[in-house]
């Protein structure tokens, strides 16, 4: 036994372990342990004052019996859908046009990416002012120039969510543009040459060469965007606090409210239960998505 240990240490097993130590400690304490803890907490009642009690599925029952849950799920779905409508095609078109730019492409990229580097909190607080619902508000002033509006933006249940999505799209689209652009520039030029030999025009090249080549990237960004929007927090939290009349309360905001918003101590069990449900839903969604798209993403 001892000789085996010595040989292991002599072979560099010890120094390997030392190199892995930061990773093991950081992942162990701040990733693996909390993940396991989440599963445990979801079936416990934890209030940090008394010892946790096993409560079975009670936390899940609490979550499912909360009338706000379905509102939050609906709102989150609505946010994700709007975010796809706004945020999916526009960057693609922009990237296709940009890929044809011969001079100053860096300028285009920089301009497109600029909003991404603005801290989200700054962006939201700035846009909150843009969304001033008075006719003198920034957007209402601009829209008045072309004879539209004024809109109530965040101040009505109907327009609050689209307003949130608009800002979120502004903040994120640049990243998507850069991804598409990278993929577009990675398309082998020979494919276009070959298509031209077959007499293809620009549109046919876009449809039959570019798009198939982008398929993989498009599919991945789609699911990544859905996963990301399902966890939207900063926008509803800072813009509207979930209002007006719960029209922008999202699943993550609800989790936050469970855990941190009651002034008399949080319901950590319900919060972890709901976050596990969300994670499970996203896992199933991704699995189904990749299964469905596998056949046409292999090219």
């Amino acid at each position: 036994m001892l000789t085996r240990v010595r040989r292991w240490a002599g072979d560099g097993g010890l120094s390997t372990l030392l190199f892995l130590l930061p990773l093991l400690v950081v992942f162990g304490v701040f990733s693996w342990f909390p993940i396991v803890r989440a599963a445990v907490m979801s079936v416990q009642q934890t209030n940090l004052v008394t010892a946790p009690v096993f409560v079975g599925l009670e936390n899940f029952e609490t979550v499912f019996s909360d009338p706000l849950l379905w509102t939050a799920v609906r709102n989150t779905g609505w946010f994700a859908l709007l975010a796809l409508l706004f945020g999916y095609p526009i960057p693609l078109v922009a990237a296709v046009v940009m890929s044809e730019v011969r001079r100053w492409r860096g300028l285009y990229s920089a301009l497109a990416y600029l909003p991404v580097v603005v801290p989200p909190v700054v962006a939201v607080l700035m846009w909150k002012f843009f969304y001033d619902a008075r006719p003198e508000g920034v957007f209402n002033t601009m829209l008045a120039w072309v004879g539209i509006g004024p809109f109530s933006w965040l101040q009505s249940a109907a327009t609050a969510m689209p307003s949130l999505v608009l800002e979120a799209t502004w903040a994120a689209a640049g990243g998507t543009v850069i991804i598409y652009l990278a993929a577009l520039l990675g398309v082998p030029p020979e494919l276009y040459d070959a298509a031209e030999v077959d007499g293809a025009g620009v549109w046919r090249k876009v449809w039959h060469v570019t798009m198939p080549q982008l398929r993989g990237v498009l599919l991945v960004t789609l699911i990544l965007q859905v996963i990301g929007t399902a966890q939207v927090f900063v926008e509803p939290f800072l813009f509207t606090g979930g209002g007006p009349a719960n029209s922008t309360i999202t699943v993550l905001l609800l989790i936050y409210d469970y855990a941190f918003a009651s002034s008399l101590g949080g319901d950590y069990g319900a919060a972890t239960a709901l976050s596990l449900l969300l994670a499970a839903f996203l896992a199933v969604l991704s699995a189904v998505y990749f299964r469905l798209t596998r056949s046409w993403s292999t090219s």
């Binding site: 892995l20 909390p34 860096g106 601009m142 520039l185 620009v202 972890t272 994670a279």
Partner: protein, 321 residues
């Protein structure tokens, strides 16, 4: 912790496919063509159409990307009344530079600015240490349990950060073996930032692709694992360190929910957490000045990092050659 889609996408974009920014500097290559052929460019309809589309896009990007920031700069030196009454007018009652000084001094933006820097630098350091040492051990030293460990690390990529929110918060409240709460200490932000599987993936993949003969040669020359790490591996890894650094820094600067939870004491709060609180009490012109200052730093860094990005891209090209 809580990487947004944006960051993930941005990170994704920076890695496997060649970056567009990198391509920009490459010498004009006759084979480097896009959808539209040179011949098509010369046709009047397509050529004009394309040029028009380019100009239109540039104008649009300038309006959307730069417009709000320019407005913020203007508003930060306007009076509250001007900004409220006619937000699109240019300084009807003059420029008010005092806002910036007030924001910086009286509202303690300097303190929160420093906190943001500390948070970002610490998170960056932790991420670099974890990614390089871990990546080195997994890719070069290759212990027998390596694949299992690597799989364990990668599996955390599939757990949405929201799952960690509450248990990680409770872990910070009472970390194992430490006996004292990490709340209101910067460690509460730094250490969880290190548990970023994406960084480990990037570093390991990069190290995997380094020529193994170099390490063999060093070992034959009698260099130990530590020596190899410091003197052989790290000098060769500047490009990937650059990529990880940039995204670690930007992510730390942007993070909101996590520092909001673990840094309740205003004295240690970074800008992102402090601004919403201040927004509810300070005057509008000062708030906008504070927002401008907070946006300026990452924007300037971005312009600088663009160049470092190109440099590291060039380095990786040199390494390959």
């Amino acid at each position: 912790m809580s990487a947004t889609t944006t960051e993930r996408q941005a990170t994704a974009s920076a890695v496997p496919p060649p970056s567009p920014l990198r391509r920009r500097r490459e010498p004009a290559d006759p084979g480097n063509r896009g959808i539209v052929s040179a011949a098509e460019r010369r046709t009047p309809l397509l050529g004009t159409g394309l040029r028009l589309a380019h100009v239109l896009l540039l104008a649009l990007l300038a309006l959307v990307g730069l417009g709000p920031l320019l407005w913020l700069v203007k508003a930060s030196v306007s009076t509250t009344q001007d900004t409220l009454r006619d937000p699109m007018a240019l300084f009807p009652s003059g420029i008010d530079l005092a806002n910036l000084a007030t924001a910086w001094n009286d509202v303690n933006i300097d303190l929160h600015f420093a906190n943001s820097m500390i948070v970002a630098v610490g998170a960056w350091l932790v991420q670099i240490v974890v990614a390089t040492t871990g990546g080195y051990a997994l890719a070069i030293l290759r212990p027998r349990y390596g694949p299992v460990l690597y799989w364990l690390v990668l599996s955390t990529l599939f757990v949405p950060s929201v799952v960690l929110l509450v248990p990680l918060y409770l872990t910070i409240l009472s970390p194992p073996l430490l006996g004292t709460s990490l709340i209101n200490t910067f460690w509460a932000v730094w250490l969880p930032a290190g548990a970023n599987a994406f960084n480990v993936l990037l570093a390991k993949r990069f190290f995997d692709n380094l020529p193994h003969e170099v390490f063999e040669a060093a070992r034959i020359d009698g260099a130990g694992p530590t020596r190899i790490f410091w003197s052989v591996l790290l000098p060769m890894s500047r490009p990937i360190l650059g990529v990880i650094s940039v995204f670690a820094f930007i992510a730390a600067w942007k993070d909101f929910l996590w520092p909001l939870l673990v840094l309740p004491d205003p004295a240690v709060q970074p800008l992102s957490v402090r601004l919403p609180t201040l927004a509810r009490s300070i005057e509008l012109d000062v708030l906008l000045a504070a927002l401008m200052i907070s946006a300026l730093i990452p924007v300037v860094l971005f312009l600088v990092f663009q160049r470092t990005f190109l440099k590291s891209a060039g380095l990786s090209g040199a390494l390959k050659g």
